[in-house]
């Protein structure tokens, strides 16, 4: 896919790198000469200019782009860029600087398809790092719904069983499964759970404890799940 990213700072450049590693085409827009130069050194095509201007976005190829990420630290630039990009038929993602704004933009900004608040993602990562162990929060899907990655341990009650034998609570689903050191894929009923295997589970907060006890046992019982 083709993406235009506005802002080549920490958030924008990192996002561009991840997209490029996955084989996508990325053009960056950056107003600061030094930061633009740094992104060019990293091998990116960079348009120098104001991402809130239509001409700059056109120069960056907004017409051919599938999606535009407005990832600068300036909300006005981000919102203006999303308005223009939407007009050009792109999917739009906007970075916000404070989480209470998420609700406001979701409700009032039709031009913005999705909102990202980098600090929240950073907090999930920091929490996982601090807690360590065999449970990782991957994403908050909704206020009461989270995707969690579990690693099967020696002590896991389900160690040795197959996926079809795992009886999760009604408010939880296994989304993906991966044997140790193998990329994750679609879970099959006959996949067996062994030490080191990973399970991605979508679960309601109310049943997280139950899911955890089933998949990893009592170990790290104090792990808090909330992404907030």
């Amino acid at each position: 896919m083709r993406f235009v990213i506005i802002g080549a700072g920490r958030v924008g450049l990192r996002t561009a790198r991840v997209l490029r590693e996955e084989g996508h085409e990325v053009t960056l827009i950056e107003s600061n000469t030094d930061i633009a130069e740094r992104a060019r050194t990293a091998g990116f095509e960079v348009i120098e200019g104001d991402g809130a201007h239509e001409a700059t976005l056109e120069q960056a190829g907004v017409d051919e782009a599938d999606a535009v990420g407005a990832l600068t630290a300036d909300l006005n630039v981000n919102f203006a860029a999303c308005m223009i990009a939407k007009h050009h038929g792109c999917r739009t993602v906007m970075r916000i600087d404070e989480d209470y704004r998420e609700e406001i933009y979701q409700k009032y900004a039709d031009e913005v398809d999705e909102i990202v608040y980098p600090e929240r993602l950073g907090a999930i990562g920091a929490k996982n790092a601090l807690l360590g162990g065999s449970i990782r929060a991957i994403a908050d899907i909704a206020q009461h719904l989270q995707v969690i990655l579990f690693t099967v341990t020696e002590e896991s009650p389900m160690n040795g069983y197959t996926i079809s034998e795992v009886a999760l609570p009604a408010q939880a689903r296994i989304l993906a499964f991966g044997k140790e050191d193998v990329p994750m894929g679609i879970p099959l009923p006959d996949d067996s759970l062994e030490t080191g295997d990973r399970l991605a589970v979508l679960a309601d907060f109310s049943v997280l404890d139950e899911v955890r006890q089933l998949l990893v046992g009592q170990e790290s019982a104090a792990v808090a799940m909330g992404g907030e």
Partner: protein, 76 residues
């Protein structure tokens, strides 16, 4: 007659409630939810500069969820 524009920064996502409470204040002629560094721009129209201060300090800042305000008095 004094016209002033007040930039209001919130710390809550309840934009509708805040907008409603601001619009209900005497002297406020309009309130808009805006994209950017502030969350609302409020226009007031009153008799004296002291009344502007009264609306901002005593009423807008007293609304729960309002974090900060900046007032600009119109010169024309």
């Amino acid at each position: 007659m004094v016209t002033a524009y007040i930039m209001v920064k919130a710390n809550t996502g309840e934009a509708d409630r805040l907008k409603g409470e601001i619009e209900a204040l005497d002297g406020v002629t309009s309130a808009h939810i805006v994209a950017g560094d502030v969350d609302f721009i409020v226009k007031v129209s009153v008799e004296t500069p002291a009344e502007v201060k009264n609306i901002v300090a005593d009423h807008i800042q007293a609304i729960s969820g309002v974090e900060d305000t900046q007032t600009y008095i119109s010169m024309d």
